[in-house]
Amino acid sequence: MIARDRNWLLIFAVCVALAIVYPLFADGYQLTVIRDALIFGLFAASLDFFWGRTGILCFGHAAFFGIGGYIMALVTLNDAIPFASLLGIMGAVAGAAFVAAIIGYFLFFGGIRGSYFTIVTLAMGVICQQAAVSWSSVTGGDSGLIGIPPIEFDLGGLHVDLSQDLPSYIFVSAIVAVAVLALWSISRGRWGTVLTAIQDNEVRAAALGHNAPLRLLVTFVLSAAIAGLAGALYVCMAGLVAPDLSGLLLSTEVIVWVAVGGRGTLLGPVLGAIFIQRAQQTISSFNPSLWPLLLGCVFVIIVFVLPDGILSIYARLKSLFKGRRRAQ
């Protein structure tokens, strides 16, 4: 356990170091590409925080990303609201958390777990996208909302203006690093231990006096809040929000990022998000309709070939070199 923690912190430190030196070698465009990928990495980490620790798969996590994005867009596009950027981020986080709390309350306290939860969240994602399309007076319908200003605020005399590439890259990297570190310390501590106990045997965990539904609910709400934060950051960087951001395809992609990166590692999903998005951009430049096809193949391959994600290749190779060949 201790060695594993040390390894995780080591990899984390290496990633942070890479993120710090990257601007020395990259131009503005490359910075924005990595910045946007990092935001999706934060989104992936938020899903992993829930899925990895509880074993329950949320199939509509993009709903929270989209809710965060739309709230941020509506707040910052409204000229009457002061401190729009800060209020928008807070509103996005609170809005996503609120929706998660309502849905989660009914599901977790109703004894919904496992596949049932997956299905209901799947439908939630479908409906969020439909709502974003059909409620066009507020959400702008199919085309979404454009012209969302970059984040800009004053904090204790410090003026933060993220309209340039480098400041926005640093800001996003810092938020992602802090959030991943925070999620990791929560999930490795007592909270995560109890979640593991609930995942292994909920009845036994409840018999030991743990309020299992409440724990699951709080974890779910926290996960949704981070997803909302990622959504809010994304729309400010991209300058637009569209129904796709709450759609089924994004919900699906985030699952692939987590599964490829390695479920339960928090850092793996961030790396998975960055790598797969690079691959997606390359493939889509040939033929845009090829990507969903490949995505489907990736799903099947993950399940049969790499059930523990890319990071497990390293562990497998290690055991291979040590001569400890085990059949599966």
């Binding site: 599901l107 596949s115 299905i119 209901v120 059909s134 699906t252 995505l295 489907g296």
Partner: protein, 305 residues
């Protein structure tokens, strides 16, 4: 009071004049159309999700494949009825391949099943789009025109659809309750190990039951094709609704399936009159979640699973 005949392509056949009796009967028949489709799609899910504990997210694609089968046969010059006969066969073939290639290897890994079947669903959708091209595919109903039903005038094809769906359901009930294969299925569901112990080939039973469910969903796709917009992505709406049918109704009985379909289908068609379809969907979802909270074992099942 004969109101104007509604084209069968619209979501709800609506009366032109607000006559109370007319309105009631039309609403009832609209609801019945939706309920029939939901029952057929839900049947396959009740088998795989409810009984085999397999979460098959590619179930909606059986509906899509069925609808495309009708379109394909019609575009080759065949009649609608020939297409409707091809629809369950197309569903069964896809279901059978899916069971053999993927699902039977993952019975003990539920989350992996979710991921793999979703992958298959994406592959099927994109494959259909690459084969048949973008855009909605036209499917013409076998009978245009309407039937006079004393209180209202209703599209004849919808009445045929309801009739075929009811007959299919009756056939399934008879199959499960009267034949030796039905007995095998019921035995495997109750206790898999014991069923193996008394010499039932459970893998084969699962495979046949799964293929059968896929065929019924394909038939539903074929039936709904003239009323719906036939697209490679059409399956996901049926998928979500059919899962609600199974979850709300509770697993393990035809009664639960009927109760769930009536709940989801009835509520959707009543709400569709008042508000926009996507808002109606959202309300049905919320109602389903609340219903599950209040009756965790389903509307129909009193006892625990």
């Amino acid at each position: 009071m004969p109101p104007k005949a509604c084209s069968p392509a619209c979501a709800n056949a609506s009366p032109a004049r607000p006559d109370a009796m007319d309105f009631l009967v039309t609403t009832l028949l609209n609801a019945l159309t939706l309920i029939s489709i939901l029952m057929l799609v839900g049947l396959g899910l009740a088998i795989s999700f409810g009984l085999m504990n397999v979460t098959n997210l590619a179930h909606g694609e059986f509906v899509t494949v069925g609808a495309f089968a009708v379109y394909f046969v019609q575009s080759m010059g065949g009649s609608f009825w020939l297409g409707l006969a091809a629809a369950p066969i197309a569903g069964a073939v896809v279901g059978c391949i899916l069971e053999f290639a993927i699902i039977r290897h993952l019975y003990s890994r539920p989350v992996s099943t979710v991921l793999a079947t979703w992958g298959v669903s994406l592959i099927l959708q994109q494959g259909l789009e690459l084969t048949f091209g973008l855009g909605a595919k036209p499917v013409t109903p076998p009978i245009e025109g309407t039937l006079d039903l004393l209180f209202t005038v209703y599209p004849a094809y919808r009445l045929i659809l309801i009739g075929i769906a009811m007959l299919t359901l009756l056939g399934v009930i008879l199959l499960i309750s009267r034949t030796s294969f039905g007995l095998d299925i019921r035995t495997v569901i109750q206790n898999r190990e014991m069923a193996e112990g008394v010499g039932i080939n459970t893998r084969r039973t699962y495979a046949i039951a799964f293929t059968f469910g896929a065929a019924i969903a394909g038939l539903a796709g074929g039936l709904v094709a003239p009323l719906a917009i036939v697209l490679p992505q059409m399956g996901v709406n049926y998928l979500a609704n059919a899962f609600f049918v199974v979850i709300v109704g509770g697993v393990g009985s035809i009664g639960g399936l009927v109760a769930g379909s009536v709940f989801v289908g009835g509520l959707t068609s009543i709400l569709n009159y008042q508000i926009s379809p996507s808002l109606a969907q959202a309300i049905v979802l919320l109602a389903a979640i609340v219903a599950v909270r209040l009756r965790p074992n389903g509307l129909f099942n009193g006892a625990s699973r």
